[in-house]
């Protein structure tokens, strides 16, 4: 036979359980808009009577109320893993898109002002000199137009250099951020490991760690897995960044100027492990920056050098064959064969080799130079090919980014659907637990009344 007062303890256990469940619901509602918060669910278990029949533990088969066995975090590790992966891809492509927008802005084609137009004006200026080889003003205008083209090429190169430098600085800043995040995750691991061992709840700390893991994945494309002891292991392409309570560090090494990068690509920028010095396999934003520094910008800088070299070579090849107003020949129009070093060789209008015969106003040479405008394989064509490549590459990044952002959005929605707080749902829970509490109180009152009858009114 069960104890007379067992009904009170059963009701009490329910009062406790419903109140705790109400508190958890309150916590969920309070964090409805907290980023990275995972809704929590109270796991209630009915307390059974004794299951092992012994002499002193007899049971009437009715349970002893309710207990809260767990406050569970509703989180799907698979969805989290996918989320980290897609966010990393998205971060990579978003950064790539930004880089290409900047490069496209640098060249600003097609327009009536950019380099292609300036080249056209240069050929026109040669044609004008061909028409008036005796006019020093027109020759001076040609030299000025040459300087304009040189400035155009160089300022494009400088803009690429500035973009490179900005990315290089950003890479350092991101590496520091990665190291800080890794350290934080290791610290959270320590705390979570201890709390788990002590049986304390770690839900909010785990949420915090998930937010940091996500940030780390966006920056580096890292993957993570939760270990049995509650710690998160973080990997960069197979190598551990955070393992248990220890975090490793990465750093950015190599060239610090675009010129150094292109001159010696083997010693170019790389993300490396600080301890071993071997290359770290990164993804996400850091990979985009690394690719931009080692591949994208150097490629367009080289193409621009190619345009400058082509311009200098084709113009010089003809110009050296002509004669200036002073009758002297063999002069080069441009010096330097890179985008950075390209210059107009002289500022004396008499030196423009318009004539193909010394001492005459025969302007055949200037005319031949003007014909470079339509020469196949000339600087104009080299430049157009480069812009076409830029367009194709930027467009492909644009499209991939657009698709990836949809995928990422869907993954985020799936994660949010699973782990997020639904206020309607919480309201329903709120009422359920509220009613549960009220009902438990009612049971207590009933038992109380029963005992009142038993104690105060019986056998009086």
């Amino acid at each position: 036979m069960a104890s007379t007062f067992s009904g009170i303890t059963t009701a009490l256990s329910s009062l406790y359980a419903q109140r705790r469940a109400l508190d958890v619901t309150g916590q969920n509602i309070a964090n409805a808009n907290t980023e990275g918060y995972t809704r929590q669910r109270v796991q209630m278990t009915s307390a059974s009577g004794n299951t092992l029949p012994t002499m002193w533990s007899t049971s009437d088969g009715i349970g002893n109320g309710v207990s809260i066995s767990d406050i569970r975090r509703t989180r799907d590790e698979f969805l989290e893993g996918r989320g980290r992966e897609e966010r990393a891809n998205s971060a990579y492509l978003t950064n790539q898109k930004q880089q290409f927008v900047t490069i496209e802005n640098t060249f600003a084609e097609p327009s009536d002002t950019a380099l292609q137009h300036q080249l056209g004006e240069l050929w026109g200026a040669f044609s004008d000199v061909a028409n008036n080889p005796n006019d020093r003003a027109i020759r001076t205008a040609l030299i000025q137009q040459g300087n304009t083209v040189v400035d155009g090429v160089r300022s494009a190169y400088d803009a690429l250099g500035a973009q490179w430098k900005a990315n290089r600085d950003q890479a350092e800043a991101y590496a520091t951020e990665v190291n800080t995040l890794a350290k934080n995750i290791a610290q959270l691991n320590t705390t979570i490991q201890r709390a788990t061992a002590a049986g304390l709840p770690v839900n909010e700390m785990a949420d915090q760690r998930d937010v940091q893991l996500m940030k780390l994945s966006e920056l580096t494309g890292s993957t993570a897995s939760i270990q049995a002891d509650g710690t998160a292991a973080v990997y960069l392409g197979g190598s551990g960044l955070v393992q248990g309570v220890t975090a490793r560090e990465i750093r950015v090494t190599g060239a610090d100027r675009l010129q150094n990068q292109t001159a010696d690509p083997a010693n170019g920028v790389a993300v490396r492990w600080a301890d071993s010095g071997t290359a770290a396999q990164v993804g996400g934003t850091l990979a985009s920056i690394q690719d931009t520094l080692t591949t994208t910008i150097p490629k367009y800088a080289n193409s621009l050098d190619g345009v400058a070299a082509n311009l200098a070579n084709t113009v010089n090849a003809l110009h050296t064959g002509g004669y200036g107003l002073d009758g002297a020949g063999g002069r080069e129009f441009f010096t330097g064969t890179t985008a950075e070093s390209l210059r107009v060789a002289f500022d004396n209008p008499d030196f423009v080799a318009a004539s193909s015969t010394s001492g005459t106003f025969d302007a055949a040479n200037a005319d031949a130079l003007a014909d470079l405008a339509t020469t196949a394989g000339g600087p104009g064509e080299t430049y157009a090919v480069m812009i076409a490549n830029l367009g194709v590459e930027a467009q492909s990044v644009d499209r991939r980014q657009a698709i990836q952002s949809v995928v990422t959005r869907d993954t985020d929605a799936a994660r949010e659907s699973f782990a997020g707080v639904n206020l309607d749902e919480e309201m329903t829970q709120l009422i359920t637990y509220q009613r549960g509490y009220e009902a438990a109180s009612r049971v207590l009152t009933a038992v109380d009344e029963m005992l009142d009858v038993l104690i105060n009114r019986m056998a009086v």
Binding site: T74, F100, P110, N131, T360, F361, G391, Q395
Partner: protein
């Protein structure tokens, strides 16, 4: 917990925000197209379009230059045409004077012939002046000479044999000068105009009728040469003018092609803009409706 598709406020908010962003981006793109009038503002908008646009711009620049070169060439040929026409009328006048000097009746006296000779000499000086006609500071009969004149005071050619060419189309170069040695006869040749005129003046003074006869033949050769050159200049003038018209036509063509590639279709873009704005407003209204109600609104 039973697995069922959950929808959370956070998920709705994110999705709605993303959709609104997408809508707004499209409105922004259309607005950029409308305000710039261009559908290609960067290479990635259309890589092939960009390359075509660059090519067409280059072509447009070249064709404009052809047109300019042609105008300059027409300037040269116009001046030469005038000079040659004037030369013809003056040499015609000389021819009359020679015929007058050869007829015994009208110029029987030495004084009369001296007067004729003096007039021929005047015409000769005037013709040397014509032969030194300049266009933009260059003697048009002097070839590619850097000198001021094509003929010296004595009437001998001091220019060179170089030709002045103008590019008036792709691989189309036209000579725009007329060489003095060709037009007025080479130095030392019997039919060089100024030598002939010199000889005429001398023969008139010395009443050398036989000499005048020979002079007349040489003069006719010289006049014939000028006429041939005048016809040649006229032909070249026409050729350049045709090229210029072709260049202008092509410029128009190139510009319309460029516009086809680069410019927006205004009615179409405005239509799309309206549609996009309507879509955006609908999205906003839907958002306003979706986010508001929840169970809380119905609980006391």
């Amino acid at each position: 917990m039973a697995m069922q598709l959950r929808v959370t406020d956070g998920a709705i908010t994110n999705r709605v925000l993303a959709n609104l962003q997408g809508n707004l981006t499209r409105v922004g793109n259309l607005q950029e197209q409308l305000s710039s009038g261009k559908q290609i503002s960067r290479p990635s908008d259309s890589p092939t379009g960009t390359v075509s646009a660059m090519q067409l711009r280059g072509e447009s620049r070249a064709v404009q230059q052809y047109s300019r070169n042609a105008s300059d060439g027409l300037g040269w040929l116009g001046v030469i045409d005038t000079a040659l026409t004037s030369s013809l009328s003056q040499t015609g006048k000389v021819r009359e004077l020679v015929l007058q000097g050869m007829s015994a009746g009208t110029a029987s006296t030495a004084d009369a012939r001296a007067a004729l000779a003096a007039e021929v000499e005047n015409l000769r000086n005037s013709l040397i002046g014509v032969a030194n006609t300049k266009y933009l500071d260059r003697p048009v009969f002097g070839g590619t000479t850097t000198g001021e004149r094509a003929f010296d005071a004595a009437g001998s050619f001091i220019g060179d044999a170089g030709t002045v060419m103008r590019t008036v189309g792709d691989n189309s170069k036209v000579q725009v000068d007329a060489n003095g040695a060709q037009v007025f006869g080479a130095n030392g040749s019997g039919s060089q105009l100024f030598t002939v005129l010199d000889s005429i003046a001398n023969n008139l003074r010395s009443s050398n009728t036989a000499g005048l006869d020979a002079d007349l033949q040489n003069l006719d050769v010289a006049i014939g040469t000028i006429k041939t050159n005048l016809a040649d200049v006229g032909a070249r003038y026409n050729r350049i003018e045709t090229s210029r018209t072709a260049a202008d036509d092509r410029l128009l063509n190139v510009k319309s092609q460029l516009s086809e590639i680069e410019d927006i279709d205004l009615p179409n873009t405005i239509m799309q803009m309206q549609l996009q704005q309507t879509a955006y407003q609908a999205a906003l209204q839907a958002t306003a409706k979706v986010i508001q109600p929840s169970l809380m609104d119905f609980l006391r």
